[in-house]
Subunit: 420 residues, 2 copies
């Protein structure tokens, strides 16, 4: 009597290409709730409103120099033999609006950034002038003709009123905050950070506080995933790990899907005897989207949906868990915040060392970027078994190695997904 | 009578090269206070302790497959005509330590990640076996010889006990957190975020809440700087802007230097009539380090020190303010957190468009990186006057254009400082 160890439903999995799995997921992603935060709290958040310029910028004719506001025509034909002299009728510091109109024969002393007075059409810098006191009046001498518009930043040089400046879905950083402040947007609409529940499964897991025990390991994936979720813009909610028990898992998943925006688990998706997340997803408590992806590490990466909320059941192997999160969880979080480019940025580069391993699935190899004379190299980080945890910290990209009969030689052109 | 408009002390400034100014600053930077945070709060913080492996990793012989733990010698010479049959004496899920020693003729069913039992020296995957029930016992058949060590991850493959894993000064992200959790480090020593007081000076400044007024602009630099300080790892403390009043500035600087770890101001460092920060730094309330740097934008960038604390007085022009913060404030903050590489990462690349502007000072041109077929291009972002605020958000690097008699042509090799 021969016993097929394999329950066929466990093993006859259909492997989807990564891009197919990603696009399947994307159908369940909608930009989420919006909240309003103060400008000083907006750094790192994702913009949820369109920003158009409410006024031109600059909104007044701005002096680009410390100098004198003059009429260009007054300087026509003047030179060092025949300087012209103008009466200084005002001093204009930044923020002051002069009520003295510049007419022929007059000038106003003006500071960088101040509003150019009416009548003036040029600013001549201090260094090109000479000042005298004559009959109790201050006069300024020029020895060169100055063209119209010199040292004046015209209204709307940078932006016209109504111009679109920022679109929803962008991450707010220094440059965006500068724009928001300039236009008086002191409260900003941002996407609420999706709350992502995370837990690990596995009877071998110890908590990070527990002393080591034979045959057991500490639960590190939960913490790693939490960090990846923060980096993507989400808010991780860490739940306790559970042992390999299907009914416990079902209860936990139902609770988490009910309470939070997304659920990510690690472990229990292989084809072994205790793969409770695999069993759960094949059951009827959630709708399975896929349970095999044509990728290494992490071919067992699984996704399901329930009432519009996504459940990602990632591999328990640290390397596979990391990659699964970057390829599927990250874009889901970014997509829930309206990001139009939610996937890892893709670069092209040159392989910096031989990569002999071959595979029938696309392999995502942890690697380090090196720039040599303006050319991008990707250096694979040694061993790359899915279980290898230590190289995750040393990697800033994933090399995409397509399935092939032969390994890749140093110098080969490769695609890279950027992690940092 | 000729009036020299320029007070010589204002104008006879000695311009330092950027690297000289940076190294002058670095003498006042010491790694700061350390605090302990919980692992889940350590993301994005800067590690302040050295982490060596307290135990090897993995710390037990780990099965790399779902299969059977066997003695390799038992399989010598077996093949499909002459299979060998072993008695299955135990089942070993993850986390369980089997007390059944594998002796010749026996095997134990084992799951991926579980501890390989004593006596076994190989694991054969399920797919290569056949299982039968015979006389109430379960036996497993093999048709191929299995080499010693097959599918067993040896103790310490990734790390030996005592190996250095993480050094102080690194930013903690997913890979580092994975390591910390694995080794049971649930409380982490990190550098306290330096508290950086920020304020702007200028009588033309409106608060971000105020309606626009003729000749005035909203204070955007304070908010932009706060964002840059957060990005660098510091904690910004936003103080109200002040009008152009020297005694007010002196009071504010003294208060801020007393209360916080560093002070950054924007505005008031030009050579005009109201450049109060320039006047302040030339006075005796602080010790001036430099008040001119051979760079554009931001040649007026100024630094001073008082009782070991740094004051940076940056230009009020948004572009110059941004660059000054990245070149001087950022590395100071990073240095106070023990970062051994506190400066912006430098790349080499190819200029993607002509850059005709020439200058006697090194110019830091805001630009966007483009990767074309594995080669890095830097595309300058249009107008690059120091006052131009709008292109900051569109830039992810600064092209370093050295002083030269001619502009740069598209295709020129350039250095780039990476912003994102």
């Amino acid at each position: 009597m021969t016993d097929s160890i394999y329950d066929s439903s466990k093993f006859k999995r259909k492997a989807l290409q990564v891009s197919v799995a990603q696009s399947m997921i994307s159908q369940y992603i909608n930009a989420g709730d919006i909240e309003t935060v103060r400008l000083q709290e907006s750094h790192g958040r994702t913009l949820a409103q369109e920003i158009s310029a409410p006024h031109p910028y600059p909104h007044f004719r701005r002096s680009g120099m410390d100098g004198y506001a003059i009429r260009s025509a007054d300087t026509d034909g003047c030179n060092s033999d025949q300087p012209i002299w103008l009466e200084v009728i005002d001093e204009i510091p930044c923020g002051k609006v002069s009520d003295k109109i510049i007419i022929s024969g007059t000038a106003s002393r003006i500071m960088t950034g101040a509003q150019v007075p009416e009548g003036a059409d040029a600013v001549v810098m201090f260094e090109m002038t000479e000042v005298r006191e004559e009959k109790g009046k201050s006069i300024v001498g020029l020895k060169r003709s100055i063209e119209v518009g010199k040292n004046i930043t015209p209204i709307g040089l940078e932006l016209q009123a109504g111009e679109l400046i920022l679109s929803p879905g962008i991450k707010i950083s220094a440059g965006e905050i500068s724009v928001l402040a300039t236009f008086g947007i002191h409260h900003v609409a941002v996407y609420r950070r999706p709350r992502v529940a995370i837990f690990s499964t596995g009877s071998e897991l110890l908590s990070v506080e527990e002393p080591l025990q034979p045959g057991k390991i500490r639960n590190s994936n939960t913490w790693m995933l939490a960090s990846q979720v923060i980096e993507a813009g989400g808010e991780p909610v860490i739940l306790d790990a559970i042992m390999d028990d299907l009914s416990l898992a079902r209860e936990k998943v139902e609770y988490a899907l009910n309470q939070y925006d997304m659920v990510v688990t690690s472990g229990g998706v292989s084809v072994g005897d205790y793969d409770i997340m695999g069993d759960l997803v094949r059951g009827d408590s959630v709708e399975m989207l896929y349970n095999k992806v044509a990728m290494r590490p992490g071919s067992v990466t699984t996704a399901a949906v329930k009432e519009g909320k996504l459940l990602f059941a990632l591999s328990g192997n640290p390397g596979a868990c990391f990659v699964g999160c970057e390829l599927f969880v990250r874009p889901s979080i970014r997509g829930m915040m309206g990001d139009q480019n939610p996937y890892l940025p893709e670069w092209s580069g040159t392989l910096g060392a031989d990569y002999p391993k071959i595979n029938s699935f696309t392999r995502y190899v942890r690697a380090k970027v090196e720039i040599r004379d303006g050319v991008i190299y990707a250096i694979p980080k040694g061993v790359d078994e899915s279980g290898v945890m230590i190289t995750i910290k040393d990697s800033d990209c994933l090399i995409v190695v397509p399935p092939a009969q032969e390994g890749l030689k140093s110098g080969a052109k490769v695609r890279m997904l950027m992690l940092k």
